[in-house]
């Protein structure tokens, strides 16, 4: 998720915002839009890269539906977050995996929810440490207000109108649903950090399950 600077391990009280069928429909719209965009830009053979964790779930679906034959890449942006100097290392880091070289390739970067834009800033920095892509298209399942950086998505599945203290969180990998809830109110700073740090550790070698954090990097 994109709102890096709110670290809530879980939404306090959640309710279903979009069910699996609505997510399916949104992903189908994204596939149509991406197909059109790629055709207009004359891109025949893009590489798709999902941002851990929710972005990878969405990317897996898009990757299959678009019939891309090169393997999906996974990006973990923990080492590139802009808040390490404030909160230390994120508890869960999975290795990034870009199985195909990205030099001179057209990339489709996929995330679940775009808010502040800080995740995408970090993801672009990771990508450019792997090589120099020809272009990057940004596709997000959901978009909401709250941008803090000049970053705009090219393809969006759902647009969320939320109050400032509301959050949405993708739950997956199957079925994919979007939950909505109030961000728990608490003083910023130390207590915040403790929570972020005390998340249950997940063995990075097992397949990713649902992320306990709302705002997983």
């Amino acid at each position: 998720m994109s709102n890096l600077d709110i670290r809530t391990p879980a939404l306090g009280r959640t309710e279903l915002w979009k069910n699996a069928a609505e997510i399916d429909a949104a992903i189908a719209r994204m596939v149509d839009e991406l197909t059109g965009l790629l055709a207009r830009q004359g891109i025949a053979d893009p590489l798709m890269i999902g941002i851990h964790t929710g972005g990878v779930w969405v990317a897996e679906r898009l990757h299959g539906a678009l019939g891309l034959h090169e393997p999906l890449g996974h990006l973990d942006i923990s080492f590139y977050r802009d808040d390490f100097t404030r909160i230390g290392l994120h508890p869960q880091v999975r290795p990034s995996c870009l199985p195909v070289g990205i030099d001179d390739r057209h990339l489709i970067l996929v995330d679940d929810v775009l808010q502040s834009g800080r995740t995408i800033r970090a993801a672009l920095n990771v990508l450019f440490d792997y090589g120099r892509p020809a272009s990057v298209i940004l596709a997000t399942l959901a978009e909401r207000a709250g941008r803090e950086l000049p970053i705009a998505p090219d393809v969006v599945g759902l647009r969320a109108r939320l109050d400032r203290d509301e959050q949405i969180k993708l739950s997956g990998p199957a079925p994919l649903i979007l939950l909505r809830g109030q961000a728990p109110r608490k003083p910023a700073g130390k207590s915040d950090l403790k929570d972020a740090r005390s998340n249950p550790e997940e063995d990075p070698r097992v397949s990713p399950g649902p992320d306990p954090e709302t705002n997983r990097p």
């Binding site: 080492f79 909160i87 880091v93 999975r94 440490d129 990075p204």
Partner: protein
């Protein structure tokens, strides 16, 4: 715990890394898990992540080392820290400066982390006890006491080949008496819960009552000791041990305790062979084993960088937490 562990901050986060002894299985596992994430940095075209940008790491090596110093240096550089390499034995102390004066001078240069190697056991603890609270100390080997990053890179290498510690039999072969590497390995293997730890050594190179002290099984016969083990860790034999008459000769040592394919045949077929380096070929093991399919010795070097990145970034991250905590306290 009655006395707080000097390596941890009040919340239990790793602040210094001085010894494996006394750290929990959860913390050791966290180090191993984090190191997995850092392995991928070597696959990047730009082999760097910006985690420790603007931080200064000083390598304080009071004792010679090539591999450990260079892998610490590379780890710090891959974290984007600035690195100072100080070969203390040839500089300040030769002019009569004390250890603490050297330390305080470097603190005045706003160094954030010291990586310390010293011939005296306890040197890293001593420095940690006297350093500024915002500074982290990593022990890169102190006397016969501890070499915790080596211990953890060995655990990391074992786990990548054999993920289930609880089922493992591990044999450590060589100079247990003088080896800080062996002590760190034994503490780590014990904490991670391996099924059995064996030490295989001549009687002159074993601490007294090693069974009770470390909970290990002792063997004086290599072939017998490696039978059915999953991991064989060879230790380096230092030449000066021959001079002090603890060993008759290199040739004699190899004849009795050198690892050969033939002697290794009693180990499990998928057993791996490790060595912290540098290897004395023809003393600890022959080249057939060192370069053979079961050897993971060069993997240990690669893994050492990722493990050191994990430990360094955890300690620097804890500094960040604490400095924020301090600011918050002041603001009331």
């Amino acid at each position: 715990m009655s006395t707080p562990n000097p390596q941890l901050d009040a919340q239990g986060h790793l602040k210094h890394f001085l010894t494996i002894d006394g750290l929990s299985r959860e913390l050791l596992t966290e180090i191993l898990d984090r190191a997995e994430g850092f392995l991928g940095v070597a696959q990047q075209a730009v082999k760097k992540v910006p985690l420790c940008r603007g931080k200064v790491v000083a390598n304080l090596f009071f004792e010679n080392s090539t591999r450990t110093r260079t892998t610490f240096e590379l780890a710090a550089k891959r974290l984007s820290a600035d690195v100072l390499n100080l070969n203390i034995s040839t500089s300040a102390t030769a002019k009569g400066e004390t250890l603490l004066d050297t330390l305080h001078n470097l603190e005045a240069m706003h160094v954030d982390m010291f990586v310390v190697r010293h011939a005296t056991s306890g040197a890293a603890h001593f420095i940690a006890a006297h350093a500024d609270p915002h500074v982290s100390i990593i022990n890169a080997g102190d006397g016969r006491h501890s070499h915790p990053t080596q211990g953890m890179l060995d655990m990391f290498t074992i786990r990548r080949h054999k993920p289930d510690f609880a089922s493992l039999r591990v044999a450590i072969v060589g100079d247990i008496l003088h080896s800080r590497v062996a002590r760190s390995q034994i503490h780590a293997l014990t904490t991670l819960g391996v099924a059995e730890i064996r030490v295989i050594a001549p009687r002159t190179l074993l601490p007294s009552r090693v069974e009770e002290a470390f909970g290990v099984r002792v063997f004086h016969d290599l072939r017998e000791g490696v039978r059915d083990v999953d991991v064989v860790i060879m230790l380096r034999i230092q030449r000066e041990r021959m001079n002090s008459a603890l060993l008759p000769s290199e040739h004699e040592y190899f004849h009795l305790f050198g690892l050969t394919e033939k002697r290794l045949s009693g180990a499990r077929p998928d057993a791996i062979v490790m060595h912290p380096g540098p290897i004395n070929r023809g003393v600890e093991m022959d080249s057939q084993v060192a370069d053979g399919p079961r050897s993971v010795i060069l993997e240990q070097v690669t893994n050492g960088i990722a493990v050191r990145m994990a430990v360094m970034s955890m300690c620097i991250g804890t500094q960040n937490l604490n400095s924020q905590g301090r600011g918050e306290f002041l603001n009331g």
